[in-house]
Symmetry: C3
Subunit: 178 residues, 3 copies
């Protein structure tokens, strides 16, 4: 009989929890994980057709590591490393260099999805110490398919071709999915 009552009460509690329509999250494993590649082709005043980013302010001469260089971008984001693959999103935002003694950037950007498969955005904002092999950046909010999401984007410089092109591998791990 104890067992019967247990089952009875537990069902009741579980129903109560379900009825509350609230959400709770498991921080030990992400609720959504995927890998994306971001491609940045710097504008050099002669590549309007291909350019995806442009420097709006040049470095000011404090140290030798581009302190003050400020870049705005609208970069294609693909599922694989080929920058000619069909983009699944655009990465829109800005970054700037902010160190006297080595290359270091700070970035804020939104991944904008606008296809039949995915509609919505999520926004990344953090320091991005580009000399480190990988770095974790905060995902602080989202809309649409990514409504209210939060998580971590792990960036890796996948390929760098001088100041013309870089490809960023982005491991996206969302820990709050609604």
């Amino acid at each position: 009989m104890a067992n019967e009552i247990s089952r009875h009460i537990l069902s009741f509690v579980l129903v109560l929890l379900l009825l509350s329509e609230t959400v709770s999250f498991d921080w030990k494993k992400p609720c959504k994980s995927f890998v994306l590649y971001q491609h940045n082709i710097a504008y050099d005043s002669d590549n309007t057709d291909n350019a995806t980013s442009a420097t709006i302010l040049n470095p000011l001469g404090l140290g030798n590591f581009l302190f003050g260089k400020f870049v705005i971008f609208d970069n294609p984001v693909t599922m694989d490393q080929n920058y000619l693959s069909k983009p699944v999103a655009r990465a829109q935002g800005f970054f700037f260099y902010n160190k006297k003694s080595y290359f270091n950037i700070w970035v804020a950007c939104t991944l904008v999805f606008n296809s039949t498969q995915h509609k919505g955005t999520f926004t990344i904002m953090d320091a991005n110490p580009i000399m480190e092999p990988t770095r974790d950046l905060s995902i602080v909010g989202g809309t649409g398919d990514f409504f209210m999401t939060r998580g971590i984007a792990t960036f890796k410089s996948d390929l760098i071709q001088g100041s013309k092109y870089f490809r960023l591998k982005m491991d996206i791990n969302l820990y709050e999915c609604y």
Copy 2:
């Protein structure tokens, strides 16, 4: 007797839950909803008294859609469409244009409330594709009356008068209220 025990235990569990003093949220309907209007009067070097925003960097010539134009603002926010109504808040932040092929902006701004009725802030940050009739932007944090809030701001370009003035309708929906 089973009923009696059930009631007894359930009360206990409920008291436990209450004692934990935690909060949980319902993502299906907002905990706070309101509509605000933001008014932006662009500085033209001849309207210091009225201007509420100013371009700090001009477009750099990548495409024909103002790529690189960077604007800082401190815009009045009202409850109705009249920009002469008593402001309930100021919208402080920046936006910039970032597309080669059509008008598109990226924005970060804080709504600052400082009246007897409301004190506090919340901050919006997202892509803002201004050619779309409405767009959802993330609300990523808040202070004071909006302590730790999160949610969605739906922007609609309510009125645009050339490059001089625009009015933004902002549907605010907060899903986390403390």
Copy 3:
């Protein structure tokens, strides 16, 4: 026997709650609190060795309160008021002035910890009305030791030496700790 069953079922419910591996937060008191000091030494083109911040855009002349002045920084953060103390973190980000009629700034910055004791980041973003004795700013995300954190940073201008140096007292209160 009722007591025995109660205990039995309660343990079961508690185990269930624990197994769900979710987290919940108490918004009435912070899960982590500490005080930090941020030191900003403005670049004057003659102090490269000491400078920790630099103006990348000068005010544009809208009013007399530096509207449009834009500063990028990489400031040392210490546990006490002495800017020569060993930094526990760097504050990396930017701020700009955005008012016609008094001094007011808007800021976004990340506190970057990279020591044996603490590794990780958290990011602050909000209006910062510097004429107020204290002001609350939103902490909107974090990584590493501050994984997914949120909270409030209360800023106080602790010392201001003209336009050369300022020290900011930052009361950090985190309300979501994972």
